[in-house]
């Protein structure tokens, strides 16, 4: 379903489920359904659930693709391709919350059709056309009366625990999902949450009590005596949904959360910058754009307005949150807001470091935007200009970049409390460093400021 790893063979993230796996052939992704998953797959397709989910845009569509590929295969599916893969630790609070609510909505629909989710991994959700969509067609099994929800623990670890920690402790704790690839352990979440949350029924039950029960039953194979009837299961899903819905974003102020209220641009300078960026992009006509340091996505929307699909990334969780909420409110379909620290982008993770791809491996585009960013990388983070140029050249063949000189008040602010050890941070030094990897196509001053906007094209031998 993704454009990642189209080289061929089995997808490196698809090996945990005996019901089937995902593989690549000629740049197209396929999903093999094994005998073990055949019955459930047929029920999904013939029982009305597939239609119900795809009509609502909740499940990625597929078609059955000819002959089975290998031993034990019942059918091979050809799912619709997604443009970009993102991971839960790169999502803003409301993205993870919407992904959680989508998973629960799918479970409720599945139960109406006599089925149930057999896993509730946050990695089964991707963002496409502005909304969360479920991508694992083999996650559904026939519901059997009396059975508990096998995905309950996974849902709490992948969704509820990180959301609770982001809401009640610190927004940055979503990064714990990067360390704990199968979700945040509930005993850890219970220890980190404030004591007052033990008075909240949902949090107390699904996290604190859940953690306690896990500890009590650790290492035992004792079967519970009571069965879960369908009403109890509906009650559990309903309780999870209410608990997730009640979690709100904490009232915190982050460094860049209100950036566009505090810039040193006049309205006319900002308008001219918008116009220049629009002109530069129109010259390149990119289909996929990577906006690096996008803040709330103001300039990403210029690219999206020209028809490009934009990965709109920023280091600030509140800025990404604002970007996502604007996207939702306007029903925009061309943006994917993303939380990325460019000085430490998401690494390759999981089994053999192949299960989850690094940000750099996924973030391939036709053009990159790097507006009001270079001083944060070169001065605030001490990354040499040459390193920045080399990395940007690895991401896209075209670059729209803004140079912010030392005379600019934003740079002065960065230099106010530290020694200026950046003698090469000049327009000449900038052009020399980037000139090694790019040729300058256009260059224009932003009126009312000392800033300069460049359109660059990657040199052929530096790809």
């Amino acid at each position: 379903m993704t454009l990642n790893s189209p080289a061929g063979g089995r997808d490196s993230s698809s090996f945990r489920d005996d019901w089937g796996f995902v593989f690549w052939k000629n740049g197209q992704i396929y999903r093999q359904v094994n005998e073990a998953g055949g019955e459930a797959y047929r029920k999904l397709m013939t029982g009305g659930l597939y239609e119900a989910l795809t009509q609502r845009g909740l499940l990625v569509k597929h078609e059955e693709a000819g002959e089975p590929a290998g031993d034990g295969a019942v059918v091979v599916l050809k799912p619709e391709l997604l443009d970009w893969v993102t991971y839960p630790y790169e999502w803003a609070f409301s993205q993870l919350k919407d992904a959680a609510l989508t998973t629960l909505r799918i479970q409720k629909l599945a139960m109406k059709h006599g089925m149930s989710l057999r896993d509730a991994s946050a990695y089964n959700i991707q963002f496409a056309e502005g909304r969360p969509v479920f991508i694992d067609t083999l996650s559904f099994e026939p519901y059997r009366e009396g059975e508990p929800w096998v995905a309950y623990r996974q849902f709490c670890q992948h969704f509820l625990a990180p959301l609770a920690l982001m809401s009640r402790v610190d927004l940055g704790l979503s990064r714990l999902l990067q360390v704990h690839i199968d979700g945040i352990p509930l005993p850890l979440a219970a220890r980190l949450l404030p004591l007052k949350d033990r008075l909240n029924f949902g949090m107390a039950t699904h996290i604190s009590l859940h953690a306690k029960f896990q500890r009590q039953h650790e290492g035992t194979a004792e079967k519970p005596k009571a069965a879960m009837n369908v009403t109890s299961l509906q009650g559990l899903i309903d309780s999870l949904e209410r608990t997730v819905k009640a979690l709100k974003l904490p009232k915190t102020k982050t460094e860049w959360g209100d950036y566009y209220d505090n810039t040193n641009y006049s309205d006319s300078s900002l308008d001219q910058k918008r116009s220049l960026v629009s002109d530069f992009l129109a010259q390149v006509k990119p289909k996929r754009v990577l906006d690096l340091g996008a803040n709330d996505g103001s300039f990403s929307r210029i690219a999206a307005g020209q028809g490009a699909l934009v990965m709109s990334s920023d280091i600030d969780p509140l800025a990404v949150e604002s970007n996502y909420l604007q996207m939702k409110a306007r029903h925009e379909t061309k943006l994917i807001p993303l939380l990325v620290d460019l000085t430490n982008p998401s690494p390759a993770l999981g089994w053999a470091n192949h299960e989850r791809q690094s940000f750099s491996a996924r973030a391939k585009a036709d053009a990159a935007l790097a507006l009001a960013l270079i001083h944060h990388l070169a001065i605030a983070s001490n990354v040499p200009l040459g390193h920045v140029a080399e990395y940007f050249a690895s991401l896209a063949p075209h670059l729209v970049i803004e140079f912010v000189p030392k005379s600019d008040s934003q740079v002065q602010r960065l230099l106010a409390t530290r020694e200026d050890i950046f003698p090469d941070y000049t327009p000449e030094g900038f052009e020399a460093a980037f000139g090694r990897y790019f040729e300058i196509v256009r260059k224009q001053a932003v009126t009312g400021s000392a800033r300069m906007l460049y359109l660059m094209r990657r040199k052929r031998d530096e790809v």
Binding site: R215, A227, L233, D238
Partner: protein
């Protein structure tokens, strides 16, 4: 026969918790649904407002 296994580790603790609190949640769910249904009888329909009950 009730299965207590899954391809992802569901944890016996999670099953035990569901068994312990499932009945309470089930009753709470039914009561809430009845109350919602009762209140909706007295509410004017709002045009363009989607029904959030699947």
């Amino acid at each position: 026969m009730i299965r207590f296994i899954a391809y992802v580790d569901p944890s016996t603790g999670s099953f035990a918790l569901q068994a312990a609190v499932g009945a309470v949640m089930g009753v709470s769910f039914m009561v809430r649904n009845h109350v919602k249904g009762f209140i909706s009888k007295f509410r004017k329909p709002r045009p363009g407002k989607p029904n959030d009950i699947e």
